[in-house]
């Protein structure tokens, strides 16, 4: 399928393929028609994490310059990260050479105001490491925003700015790649949903890396991800379940946060910060989420696999063939799929 190589003009005109597993139907819609697919009382949960400029050029102790991509925060100072070679996003991820191996204890230099010590090297891949930055709080964030660039891939038409990748309602900087399902959701569209009686709620989920080009590492994706589930959202979901209304996830990250939370807490949603390692694919029985609004995904990606938990595999395959034949666009600025019955 063809990638959208940059942000497109009118978000409300972007396409949505509505896959209805209850009826077994496919319907071509536009984003502006999304409110019509929801009913009063339905809860739409959106991920309000802002996207960090998580690609950093770092110099190793041996003087080599390589790319380090932040993968997720461990605490105020420590992060997991993945190393790439000296090239950049213009080279296809899978074509990039193996980066030099780093050792535990080694220092990586980001800039005069920021460096990081390698605290561990993963047994899964020597490219997956944990680091401890030289500072925390505002000093660390300033360093990351000063030196970092948004993570992007070779299909992009140009270097992206944070202005390109941020959702309109993003708040805390938790995601290393954009939780892009909601990129076309404008505030007036959200207001139109609310005017219909749809309850729009939030979760903050630290969307992680989508690809590393390392087969072993890619098989381990998504890595454990943090989320913060507000009390209001828990209440809204519980009340909706009680009255038989539907819970719609605005993106696969929201599925992961809410199902992951329930999975770790004996089926109940518990407000607060948690971490999920849940992999959702065919055969997984969702207990919280009824439908997903997400991008158009290609087979053999973890996002595609996740959709098979919400509709029969043959219907998802049929939808994907339809999307390809009718030129739906993929990736973070691409079109959308709504799997909801």
């Amino acid at each position: 399928m063809e990638p959208a190589r940059r942000p497109r003009g009118e978000p409300l005109d972007e396409r949505v393929l509505h896959v209805d597993p209850a009826r077994g139907t496919l319907t071509d819609l536009r984003v502006r028609e999304l409110p019509d697919t929801l009913r009063a009382g339905d809860v739409l949960v959106l991920n309000d994490a802002a996207t960090i400029p998580a690609s950093l050029r770092v110099r190793t102790s041996a003087g080599e310059t390589i790319e380090l991509r932040l993968a997720g925060a461990i605490d105020d100072r420590r992060w997991s990260a993945v190393l790439f070679d000296a090239a950049d996003w213009r080279t296809k991820t899978e074509d990039r050479a193996a980066p030099p191996t780093v050792r535990e204890g080694e220092t990586l230099f980001v800039g005069p105001d920021l460096h990081a010590r390698v605290t561990s090297v993963s047994s899964v891949s020597p490219r997956l490491i944990s680091i401890a930055f030289s500072c925390e709080g505002v000093d660390l964030w300033r360093g990351i925003y000063r030196h970092g660039r948004p993570i992007q891939y070779a299909y992009a038409a140009r270097p992206f700015e944070l202005w390109d990748v941020q959702n309109r309602f993003a708040s805390r900087p938790w995601s290393v790649e954009p939780p892009s399902a909601s990129h076309a959701l404008t505030l007036p569209l959200i207001a139109a949903m609310r005017a219909r009686g749809v309850i729009v709620a939030t979760v903050t989920h630290a969307a992680g890396l989508s690809s590393t080009g390392d087969a072993v590492l890619d098989a381990a994706l998504p890595l454990p991800e943090r989320y913060d589930l507000p009390e209001d959202t828990v209440r809204a979901v519980v009340a909706a379940h009680a009255r038989g209304s539907r819970i719609v996830a605005g993106g696969t990250t929201v599925v992961r946060a809410l199902e992951g939370c329930a999975h770790s807490n004996g089926g109940a949603l518990v407000a607060g910060v948690g971490t999920t390692e849940l992999h959702i694919a065919r055969g997984f029985r969702p207990t919280v989420i009824d439908g997903v609004f997400t991008g158009v995904h290609e087979p053999s990606t973890s996002h595609y696999d996740l959709l098979e938990a919400f509709a029969p595999a043959d219907l998802i395959a049929q939808a994907t063939r339809h999307a390809e034949a009718t030129r739906y666009m993929i990736h973070e600025f691409g079109d959308a799929m709504l799997v909801l019955g």
């Binding site: 802002a50 505002v138 941020q166 309602f169 505030l187 959200i190």
Partner: protein, 241 residues
Amino acid sequence: MQLRGTSALITGASRGLGAALARELAAAGVRVALVARTQTDLDRVVAELRAAGGDAHGVVGDVADKFAVHGIAATAAAVVGPIDLLVHNAGTLGPTPLRALLDTDCEDLERALDVNVVGPFRLSKIVAGSMALRGHGTIAHVTSDAAVEAYPTWGAYAISKAALEHLGRSLAVELQDTGVRIWNVDPGEMDTQMHRDALPDADPATLSRPADIARRFVRLLAEPQRWPSGARIDLLRAEAA
């Protein structure tokens, strides 16, 4: 409204009204992110607020820099939480000594618009959506009577403040029913460095003290229902009303 436990982002917070407002909010239990361009000035105010038990964080950055504002907003949200109160207090007079509009360089007018209008627009564009999604939030534009009355030699500043106020009214109508409140707050004439830059011969005894104005500002924030979104609030008269 309970201010304790909420979070605020204040621009131009290293001196004058911005610093005084940060001090009052921190004392009221608000987690405060103070934004200013100069690290040393900011460090001094943040250290003072923390010594008094406040939860205060200094974020160095220029609100007029398009490529700095995401970092400013994200850093603030990371350290104080999603922003409940955004105060656009940073401002520039334009060239000083003040001069007739037709003697003002085009670039100086552009700079005034950048700092006083486009900067606040960009920051609100980043912050207001999260407020709307969460169903609450206040954005305050610090303005001046120069936005309403035309005075000789105040042109660049006055034009930008008039535009800032209309930015506030425009956002207010677009964000109607979202729970996000936009106010244009006129603090009146205060004894600040900015006032000395504009009118070096003014008698300080005739001017308000920033600390007094900041207290009025915080009382206003604690009673948000008194003023509708989009309102222009004259702080010196507000409490008599």
